[in-house]
């Protein structure tokens, strides 16, 4: 099982696609299911990037290279909570948020299709904030006697925030059923990991707060799955929180507004391209005779069609209902807000419905 608090990075399938650990005990179709999510993540991210370039959607943070992050969400249950940042879209899909809802977010809609029961808080932009929310949620679930888990995800850069460290401390003190995941993708915009913290491993913070920590190859979906499943089981059994550091790499720009060539050596990218999580897992499935090239092609076609359908649905939506925003400020609008609503809608030529 995963190595707790060691220097070794836990792997099931190594960089060369060789099996070096015990794969999780999942039926073949589930293993293919993981692969399909990863393909969807890559295709979706590439499509959003293209849409942004064409002016068809807003600023977007690509997730290319971090597709194994589905392993964060895949072992979770419906009752569990997930809170991520802008780069955890794929984990959100796995948890049940529809593609269309995420696309609506990026186009300024309040999505009518965002299902509350999937238990994902909206993706967080103010770094590390969601980790405290996650710990609070976990404390509430524990108080309610529910055997559920709250999973929060942030980046290596976000781990420098006070919020991150205070969340770990709270999680430890209250033995909260929380899993705090750091997707260490090497960079925080232009700031490399080693300038973010003098520690070799972010996972080392865990023991400092009395929180068991795991170091896992974040490009190895099976390893991520196993670590997350173990942490979740521990939390459900009442044994408290864990910290998981996933070693991965942001292959693309920080966002569509960024050009990484300004600060990042090409050679580094080349090294990580060799460790591509998608290629590695594909190799694993082909070698294990669980998938053929033809099936893979078909799977890609299906995924692309699914994304295309979401794009079309998105682009055929009527303009957003501008009235909604005023309802989202207080539980019940104040008289001043009602007046401002009337003024504003009159100004933009939109009749209050």
């Amino acid at each position: 099982m995963p190595y707790l608090l060691t220097e070794e990075v836990y792997q099931v399938v190594n960089h060369d696609g060789k099996v070096v650990g015990q794969a999780p005990d999942l039926p073949g179709e589930d293993l293919i299911g993981l692969y399909r999510w990863m393909v969807l993540g890559r295709e979706f991210s590439d499509r959003m990037l293209a849409l942004q370039r064409q002016g068809r959607t807003g600023t977007f943070a690509p997730l290319r290279g971090q597709e194994a992050s589905i392993g964060i969400a895949a072992p979770l249950q419906q009752e569990d909570w997930l809170m991520g940042s802008y780069r955890e879209i794929l984990a959100y899909f796995v948890k049940g948020v529809p593609l269309l809802s995420i696309m609506e977010d990026y186009s300024g809609y309040i999505s009518a299709n965002y299902p509350a029961e999937v238990r994902c808080l909206p993706m967080q932009i103010v770094l590390a904030t969601q980790i405290l929310h996650g710990v609070g949620l976990a404390m509430a679930m524990k108080y309610d006697g529910k055997p559920s888990v709250a999973v929060t995800v942030c980046g290596d850069g976000a781990s420098s925030e006070g919020d991150f460290n205070e969340a770990l401390n709270f999680a430890g003190v209250y033995k909260a059923p929380a899993i705090i995941v750091v997707q260490n993708n090497g960079w925080a915009i232009s700031t490399p990991r080693h300038k973010q913290s003098a520690t070799e491993r972010i996972a080392h913070r865990g023991p400092g707060f009395g929180v068991p920590a795991y170091l896992v190859d974040g490009n190895d979906v099976l390893a991520v799955y196993k670590v997350m499943a173990e942490c979740a089981a521990r939390a459900r059994a009442g044994n408290g929180p864990s910290l998981v550091e996933m070693i991965t790499y942001r292959m693309g720009p920080h966002t569509t507004a960024d050009d990484p060539r300004k600060y990042r050596p090409d050679e580094e990218l080349e090294i990580w391209q060799q460790r591509d999580p998608l290629a590695r897992y594909r190799r694993f499935l082909l070698d294990a005779d669980m998938m053929t090239d033809v099936e893979d092609e078909q799977l890609h076609e299906d995924v692309v069609a699914e994304i295309q359908a979401a794009v079309e649905a998105m682009e055929s939506l009527p303009p957003p209902d501008l009235n909604q925003h005023f309802d989202c400020i207080f539980a019940e609008p104040t008289p001043q807000l009602e007046q401002q609503r009337t003024e504003m809608l009159a100004e933009i030529g939109y009749a209050k419905s």
């Binding site: 932009i125 850069g157 925030e161 232009s190 600060y263 001043q336 100004e347």
Partner: protein, 333 residues
């Protein structure tokens, strides 16, 4: 080149030039912030500065806004002149204890024996599609804190000169840079010069009505004034430049002359600085000259929406200023 060695440069370039010139002649001045080195900052203000000043004076920091503000405060206590860049003004919320309870109060708590000569450079404001947590104008929080000065330049020339004064000031100064102003151009002298804090500037003279504005509202007020001039309405635009300490005299003099005043800012109306300005005017001798009620234009009391139509409509635009000023010019006649 225009007259006296001035050139046309952008507001962003003017801020950078101010930083560079002051750093060249004062070794105690240094910068710290997120991605300000090789990246040049989120908006490119510090681009190229790492090459000239090196990583000790252009310090990329971990993503820790509380630490940035607290470490700057500590360095300032040692007599250095730190300039911290916050990536978006919204993230000053994370620095608040250090700024409000510490930087602003250390001089007081130490019986006047310590000073905190630091500058907080804060890109502020909406209009870039950056939504509710990257678009705020939080000046009122700082104006409301004794011990902190607040500067909000509207032009390239003012940005450079006021920045120099802010750096030389022996108190913490919040220096607001509106994101939409970064690309605006103006005539700026090449040499090092300082514009004193606490002095407003009449950006346009007029006799019918005064618009009191700062930051992005200044160019909008000037454009509105141009449009209304064609209708025969003659508007005076007072650019506050420094919000604290406030140049009350210039405001009172202008309002006493015109008898009508419209106050414009982007931040939400309720609890906004406009209320304070109105109270200053109402409590002064200008009150006797008022021919109409003091009017305010401000942001609506909602977070800045991501939707572009709503975002635009949330804060006063040129057409809103035109409409409000036109109405006010007729009031009480």
């Amino acid at each position: 080149m225009t007259q006296n060695g001035n050139r046309e440069i952008t507001y962003l370039e003017a801020v950078r030039e101010g930083l560079i010139l002051e750093m060249r002649q004062d070794p105690e001045v240094f910068l710290l912030g997120e991605d300000i080195g090789i990246y040049g900052g989120a908006f490119g203000v510090t681009r190229g500065m790492l090459e000239e000043f090196g990583p000790e004076r252009i310090r990329d920091t971990p993503i820790s806004e509380a630490a940035i503000a607290g470490a700057a405060t500590g360095a300032a206590l040692m007599g250095m002149r730190p300039i911290m860049e916050i990536m978006f003004m919204d993230f000053l919320t994370i620095s608040m204890n250090q700024l409000v309870n510490q930087a602003a109060k250390i001089r007081f708590m130490f019986g006047g024996k310590a000073s905190i000569p630091m500058v907080v450079r804060a890109p502020a404001g909406s209009g870039t599609g950056a939504a509710a947590q990257h678009s705020q104008s939080l000046e009122a929080w700082f104006i409301h804190t004794p011990g902190i000065k607040v500067v909000a330049p509207a032009t390239a020339a003012d940005a450079k000169g006021l920045l120099i004064s802010a750096i030389r000031d022996n108190n913490p100064v919040i220096f607001m840079e509106h994101k939409l102003l970064y690309r605006t151009k103006g005539d700026v002298a090449e040499e090092l010069y300082a514009i004193p804090l606490g002095k407003a500037d009449v950006k346009r003279e007029g006799s019918d009505l005064t618009i009191v504005a700062y930051s992005i509202m200044v160019p909008r007020a000037l454009e509105a004034a141009e449009q209304l001039a064609e209708e025969g309405i003659n508007i005076e635009v007072v650019d506050l430049r420094t919000l604290k300490p406030l140049d009350e005299k210039t405001i009172i003099r202008s309002v006493s002359k015109t008898g009508r005043v419209l106050i414009a800012h982007e931040a939400p109306r309720t609890g906004g600085f406009g209320g304070e300005l109105a109270a200053v005017i109402a409590g002064s001798e200008a009150f006797d000259y008022l021919d109409a009620p003091i009017r305010r234009l401000a942001g609506r009391d909602i977070p800045i929406p991501y939707n572009r139509t709503l975002e635009r409509s949330t804060v006063p635009q040129v057409e809103d200023i035109v409409a409000a000023a036109r109405t006010l010019a007729q009031e009480g006649r």
